[in-house]
């Protein structure tokens, strides 16, 4: 069923009993040409583009929980392409362009809102760094704008401009950045992939990867053995666990990142705003809640919950940036398990095993990359060659000495 304004009216008038499930619940077939492990945003997008752009037919996504039960439903929904390094920026801009056409393509309302993202700066050197980043964006054809204090005061009067230690001097604006409804992105890709014949197999945990003569022949799962011609891993925080089944040695640590949402408010914050004196970022959802987060907790964790010390730190940063936040009540907080890579940049790559492909290392920037990650991973799997914009995101860049370290923090995952 194609969704449209007409279908909403028609179903409303007939008591909303004729809606069909958005996707099937198939039992696994004995063999697929391609299996994707992980039914999150990236896995579902990969399956969709494999079917849509690369014409593959016999595809399955296996997911240990329910679709979108991981980080795609746990992030702060920010979409942007304001990176600096040449290994990253073209990739994220490719993603941004896919976002801009995604809802029409998927026939699904992902509530993309290009409200603009503003990175604040607090001193001269930080301003210079943002000018450099803005220029790096322009060099890749991505518009960026430097805002001074006066312009910011007009746009965001509620900020703490005269903080004694971290006065706000201005900000870097990417107008095309914004937010998207994260669950809808997973559901939109799932529905579109299902309509192209992809089998989405939920509650099916991969317990082993079977190999013969050095190539993958299939996966052992909680629903039995499923054979495959090619296997793609998109398991996010559990990448190391799945990789271990194929003896992959990976430059990944799993860390917990927390996010928060407040009670619903009238429209107050029109943009996505990030703090330059900390790692705090905030936006307001269409429902009215303020959605925000900051750093990872800083220790290895597979638990989807964080620590109170970090909660306190995030709140302090928020109130430092927007003093009015002290009057708002937090409604919920949650944690997600991040696949932190050694340079803070992702991996879309071949592996030492010929028909095994890897998509991981998204740190806490995976959501904005969902469409491009899916497209480039599908390209890699279908054609067995790297997509041009993802050519730097190789697994072997670490041993070859070509890390893509936006923060310059070195191989220390809890600092990215």
């Amino acid at each position: 069923m194609r969704y449209s304004a007409f279908s909403i009216v028609k179903n409303a008038l007939t008591g909303n009993v004729n809606w069909k499930p958005a996707w099937r619940q198939p039992e696994p077939k004995p063999y697929y040409d391609v299996i994707i492990v992980g039914g999150g945003g990236h896995g579902l997008a990969t399956a969709y583009y494999l079917a849509k752009e690369f014409g593959l037919k016999n595809i399955a996504v296996v997911e240990k929980g329910y679709l979108g039960s991981g980080n795609v439903g746990r992030n702060t929904t920010i979409v942007r392409s304001n990176y600096m390094l040449p290994g990253n920026e073209p990739f994220y801009e490719f993603s941004m362009k896919l976002w801009e056409g995604m809802e029409q393509e998927l026939n699904y309302n992902a509530m993309l809102s290009q409200r603009g993202i503003i990175n604040l700066y607090h001193n001269d050197s930080q301003r210079d760094a943002y000018i450099r980043r803005g220029n790096a964006m322009w060099m890749e054809g991505v518009p960026a704008e430097l805002l001074d204090r006066a312009a910011l005061k007009k746009m965001l009067p509620f900020l703490n401009f005269d903080h004694a230690r971290f006065p706000i001097m201005g900000g870097l604006l990417q107008k095309r950045g914004g937010t998207a409804r994260h669950d809808a992105v997973a559901w939109g890709y799932a529905r579109a992939a299902d309509r192209l014949g992809v089998d989405l197999i939920q509650n099916c945990e991969v317990t082993g990867i079977r190999r013969e003569n050095g190539v993958v022949t299939g996966v052992e799962t909680s629903k039995g053995f499923i054979g495959c011609g090619k296997l793609g891993l998109a398991a996010a925080g559990n990448t190391s666990r799945v990789g271990e089944m194929a003896d992959l040695k990976l430059p990944i640590e799993s860390h917990v990142l927390q996010a928060f949402v407040t009670e619903g408010l009238k429209p107050a914050i029109d943009h996505v705003i990030t703090y330059g004196a900390g790692h705090f970022y905030i936006s307001q959802s269409d429902k009215g809640g303020l959605v925000f987060g900051a750093e990872i907790d800083g220790y290895n964790s597979y638990a989807q919950r964080g620590n109170l010390a970090t909660v306190e730190h995030v709140m302090e940063e928020g109130v430092m940036m927007i003093p009015g936040l002290s009057r708002v009540r937090v409604l919920r907080s949650w944690g997600g398990v991040m696949d932190m890579s050694m340079d803070g940049s992702p991996i879309i790559s071949h592996t030492p095993i010929d028909n095994l492909y890897l998509n991981c290392g998204w740190c806490y920037g995976g959501f904005k990359a969902t469409p491009a990650s899916g497209w480039c991973f599908a390209h890699l799997i279908a054609r067995d060659e790297t997509h041009p914009v993802a050519r730097f995101l190789r697994l072997d860049r670490f041993e070859r000495g070509y890390p893509i370290d936006e923060h310059g923090a070195g191989p220390q995952p809890n600092l990215h």
Partner: protein
């Protein structure tokens, strides 16, 4: 995570006094070791889901480096050892 950590030098202390550096199971290779050995030491992590040896520093206490054995899923802490003692124990 456990909110109280038993420091071998200072006794039971709140975990906020400690900072966590990361994997303590890695052994620094010889300076002349191969590129592969250094690559594994600098970049490759076992990243277990379960028991994990970690370097912690008691920054608001004795400032000693400690080796903490912790579960990365339940966050239960099994043991806290002084870093130097742990290193001698593994005869490095």
């Amino acid at each position: 995570m456990a909110s109280l950590i038993h420091c071998p030098h200072c006794g039971v202390r709140p975990k906020e006094e400690f900072s966590i550096r990361g994997d303590a199971s890695l052994v620094r290779p010889d300076p002349e070791a191969s590129d592969e050995a250094w690559h594994e030491y600098v970049h490759i992590r076992a990243n277990p889901r379960g028991r994990y040896l970690e370097h912690w520093q008691h920054v608001a206490g004795c400032r000693r480096w400690l080796v903490v054995e912790r579960d990365t899923f339940t966050h239960q802490v099994f043991s806290v050892t002084d870093g130097a003692a742990a290193a001698r124990g593994t005869s490095r």
